[in-house]
């Protein structure tokens, strides 16, 4: 009934809840307690850092996921991996994040975002360097007509030689318009310390939405309704570089609608555009990578 009203009544909107502050990830308790582990061996330093973002669509096949990463040269060279939609279930033994970290030889932090069945669902950051000061922010809640879910941002500081790189992993709601999307991500990106890497699944789909249910398809054939360039433009206005802006789609819906849902933004480093690995088929998204060159 609520969905029908959303379709029929143009006054419906995705009411966004209040923003929250970053909190220490370890302050979250119970099912939302994060997992943290250091890399078995850490790199000393580097000038150029490979960053990958990948929505792994639950990551059920951890071995297949690890294989896809380690056998794809651009991904195997990842120093920092931002993952969205990872899950942990108690019947599986070590969590999927733990097993993926072991397979990649990386440290990690996994922060449950919501309960999913008998387990949890959330983002994770993997790194070849030590992850310090892991923090979680509850993003403004979007009260959608259907499929509403809490969203968090996960951040950590990564010490690379003399530099401390701030890394923020985002996964935003799907059926938001650009203004709402900005309001949902803004608390996690606006005032971050430099240098900063922001990446994730921003769900920048190709439509303007009405009632967070009806995509304005006809207008999209005539004017630019794609949200990805608009979010890129917003990020440029707050001094982020947009190295993934020209890399093309990161998801193809049934081969009919191509969307650039995933992105990486940098501030305070030299960003070198990388690519989208469209031969990787372990998820509905394709992984995206860039290189970031740290200041001397």
């Amino acid at each position: 009934m609520r969905w029908c009203l959303a379709v029929l009544v143009a006054g419906c909107s995705a009411d966004l809840g209040p923003s929250a502050a970053w909190i220490d990830a370890t302050a979250r308790a119970g099912a939302f307690t994060p997992e943290l582990a250091a890399a078995p061996s850490m790199l000393a330093s580097a000038r150029q850092v490979r960053i990958v973002t990948f929505n792994v669509n639950k990551g059920q096949d951890v071995a297949g996921l690890a294989r896809a990463i380690t056998t794809t040269p651009s991904l195997a060279a990842a120093d920092i991996l931002l993952v969205q939609e990872l899950e942990a279930h108690p019947g599986e033994g070590p969590s999927r994040a733990r097993r993926l970290a072991d397979a990649l030889g990386m440290g990690y932090v996994y922060a449950p975002e919501r309960i999913e069945g008998d387990g949890t669902h959330g983002p994770a950051i993997f790194s070849r360097w030590e992850l310090e000061h892991a923090e979680v922010m509850e993003l403004p809640f979007a009260d959608l007509a259907f499929s509403s879910a809490p969203r968090i941002a996960l951040a950590a500081n990564i010490r690379i030689g003399a530099h401390v790189l701030r890394v923020v992993d985002l996964h935003l709601d799907t059926r938001l318009n650009v203004g709402e999307r900005i309001l949902q991500m803004r608390p996690a990106v606006l005032d971050e310390p430099w240098p900063t890497i922001v990446g994730g699944d921003l769900n920048t789909n190709p439509y303007a939405w009405v009632g967070d249910s009806v995509p304005q398809v006809p207008a999209g054939a005539i004017v630019e309704t794609d949200q990805a360039p608009a979010i890129d433009d917003y990020m440029r206005h707050i001094d982020y570089a947009t190295p993934t802006a020209e890399l093309g789609p990161t998801l193809s819906f049934e081969g009919l609608v191509d969307s650039r849902l995933d992105a990486i933004y940098t501030r305070g480093v030299l960003a070198v555009p990388g690519g989208v690995e469209r031969d990787v088929e372990v998820s509905d998204h394709w992984p995206v990578f860039i290189d970031a060159v740290l200041p001397p």
Partner: protein
């Protein structure tokens, strides 16, 4: 139940006036659900000949920080059908303007506008009541988009 009653009244009124010929009901005013405006629209058309009409549909709304305006003039032809029941095809340009208003001070928002074309095909019931159901495609520099809509209105 109220909707059903209203529909019965409208159909009844329509039937009562079905004796008037189609050629006498050359003007039509209607509202669209979905259709050319994406969500809704309002339009008018005039049929100078039995199988040809000229019209325009417009739509405007502000929703969730986005303002979408569209204007779609068209030529309609009725290649099939007789009397009150006909198949129609509409073809015409569409002008669209999208304003994305900024909710924050650090971003100015965005405005884009463009011109494309629309092709609609469907069924029309035209008595005193006008009902259309159609499939359509919009063609523009961003691509081709399928869509559908229904129109309900009155004829004069």
């Amino acid at each position: 139940m109220r909707v059903l009653c209203l529909a019965l009244v409208l159909v009844g009124a329509s039937s009562a006036h079905a004796d008037r010929t189609r050629s006498e009901r050359r003007h039509a005013a209607y509202v669209e659900l979905l259709g050319k405006g994406g969500l809704w629209g309002a339009g008018y058309d005039f049929a100078p000949w039995s199988r040809v009409a000229l019209g325009v549909t417009g739509s405007a709304y502000v929703h969730e920080g986005e303002r979408l305006l569209s204007l779609s003039p068209y030529v309609a032809v009725y290649p099939l059908g007789r009397g009150s029941h006909r198949a129609f095809v509409q073809l015409g340009p569409q002008l669209v303007r999208l304003d994305r208003m900024s909710p924050v001070p650090e971003w100015p928002g965005q405005t884009t506008s463009g011109l494309g074309a629309e092709l609609c095909a469907g069924y029309e019931l035209r008595t005193r009541l006008l009902v259309r159901a159609f499939a359509m495609t919009t063609i523009g520099k961003q691509g081709v988009a399928p869509w559908a809509g229904i129109s309900i209105g009155v004829t004069l």
